[in-house]
């Protein structure tokens, strides 16, 4: 099983680390260099972690745990109006990035109000493209427990709900964090930072459960292995969007147009098999991107079992 780690250190002799990652069969997911310092997010086989740690110590760097690396998480507010943005939605999104997650912020078109709040089918479909969703629901207990829960009732991905009033539980969500309501300033007090930590912990738990579910019926290849193949594509190399390939728990988002590159993607070879055989490739709801859902080992093997009449 692959483990995602982040190296934080200097660039001196960092090529040795690249070679070691390659030797152990790992992948570099992201490199960010600022002058002589560099952070490298990598996926390596879990059993080879001591080797990587020894090498980073030798290079004078350190290995940082990024439990949410390889995930894309949506933080959703009732609207993008100034009542809900930028705090605390952006604070939560920013905090999750510290744990390696790629986060996006989303406002519903008609999510505000009590009886009038709504979520459309297309909004649900967009949210379901992510690994987990965090819903920010506000300060009114009556409103949250009676009306707002309908916003995420049918969402098929894990949902973490963040509300102001203290509640024992809330239906239709995997985790609940209370005590974070509307804010008009940054969450920078110690008790607010503790709340952000609590939200990150709940998200980590939810993602961990999702990963364990996948482990029961493992994916045919790890998403980082597909990323390695995708990185060689000209369209991906020419893509100017930040993070052209984003890892998900069970697949990837490639920021190249679906219609234009479908054939090329289908024919892409990963360990001797075509991508279309080991993954489901679909159009992204947000446009100009492609979603790749990797099939499980069982699904791929089933395709190759000879049919008996």
């Amino acid at each position: 099983m692959y483990e995602v780690l982040m190296y934080d250190g200097g660039v001196h002799k960092v090529e040795q680390l690249y070679e070691l990652i390659e030797d152990v069969g790992g992948f570099i997911l992201q490199k960010t260099q600022v002058q002589v310092m560099i952070t490298i997010t990598m996926a390596i086989p879990a059993e080879d972690r001591p080797l990587i740690e020894a090498k980073t110590a030798e290079l004078g760097g350190k290995v940082v745990e990024v439990p949410l690396a390889g995930t894309e998480i949506a933080v959703i507010g009732p609207t993008l109006g100034r009542h809900h943005m930028p705090h605390p939605i952006c604070d939560i999104a920013e905090h999750l990035r510290r744990y390696g997650a790629i986060t996006i912020v989303m406002g519903l078109a008609r999510g505000r109000g009590r009886k009038t709040c709504q979520i459309s089918a297309s909004e649900k479909a967009i949210i379901e493209e992510y690994d987990a969703a965090i819903f920010m629901l506000g300060n009114f207990k009556e409103c949250v427990t009676h009306e707002k829960i309908d916003l995420f009732k049918d969402i098929q991905i894990p949902v973490v709900t963040v509300v102001g009033p203290e509640l024992d539980s809330l239906p239709h969500c995997e985790a609940l964090v209370c005590g974070v309501g509307r804010k008009v300033e940054r969450m920078r007090r110690s008790e607010e930072i503790a709340k952000l930590e609590e939200i990150a912990d709940r998200v980590k738990e939810v993602i961990s459960v999702r990963r364990q579910e996948i482990e029961e019926d493992p994916l045919f290849v790890h998403p980082s292995e597909v990323k390695d193949a995708l990185d060689d594509m000209d369209a991906v190399q020419e893509c100017l969007r930040p993070a052209p390939v984003v890892l998900h728990v069970d697949g990837l988002r490639v920021k190249i147009p679906y219609e234009k590159h479908l054939k090329e993607l289908e024919e892409l070879e990963v360990y001797g098999r075509k991508l279309k055989d080991i993954a489901t490739i679909s159009n992204c709801r947000l446009g100009d991107s492609t979603m790749i859902r990797i099939k499980t080992k069982a699904e791929v093997q089933e395709m190759y079992v000879p049919k008996v009449d």
Partner: protein, 188 residues
Amino acid sequence: MVEFELEGTEQYALDSYQWLLERILMDMSISNMVERARLIIRPDQTLFIVSLKVKHSSGKRPVNDIAELVGQEGGTFLTIKDEAFAPRLLATLWRLYGRERVQQLTRLEIFVEGVPVNEVSDLSLDPEEEVRSQLLDAMWRLLPEGLKVRNEIYTDDVMTIVATEHGMTVDFLEEAKKVHKNMIGEAA
């Protein structure tokens, strides 16, 4: 410090909205202009009433109350007595007579060219106008976004907004009027 009166069905909502209002007023640097605030929040009825009373409301101030006016050959000479009004007085004179005719001789001395004393003394300044507009902005920032049906009641130094989601009922309006009167009553 703003004196708060809270009434409602959910304590967390009341406390958090008090905190929100304090932070909004602080953010807009107008906390010292608000004397009292009253919040009525009933999420079960979708009712939100906020009423604010402005501090030191003195209404419009005539110019001859703010400055000493002396008629001179070719214009009027003003010596400002209340410095707090100096920027607003200068801006008003500039707006009415143009920058070429209004000369600021020293920090508190102004000469208005070609305007007789009686015309300048008839002018008056409303210091609360700007405060009222800022207060309204603060209240709109505070009100929950979904409560779009709103009614405003305002008098010289009290401003009340009642907000709900669907239809404004007579009961809600009556309650808002009662709150408004109560806030004025305290001022009288």
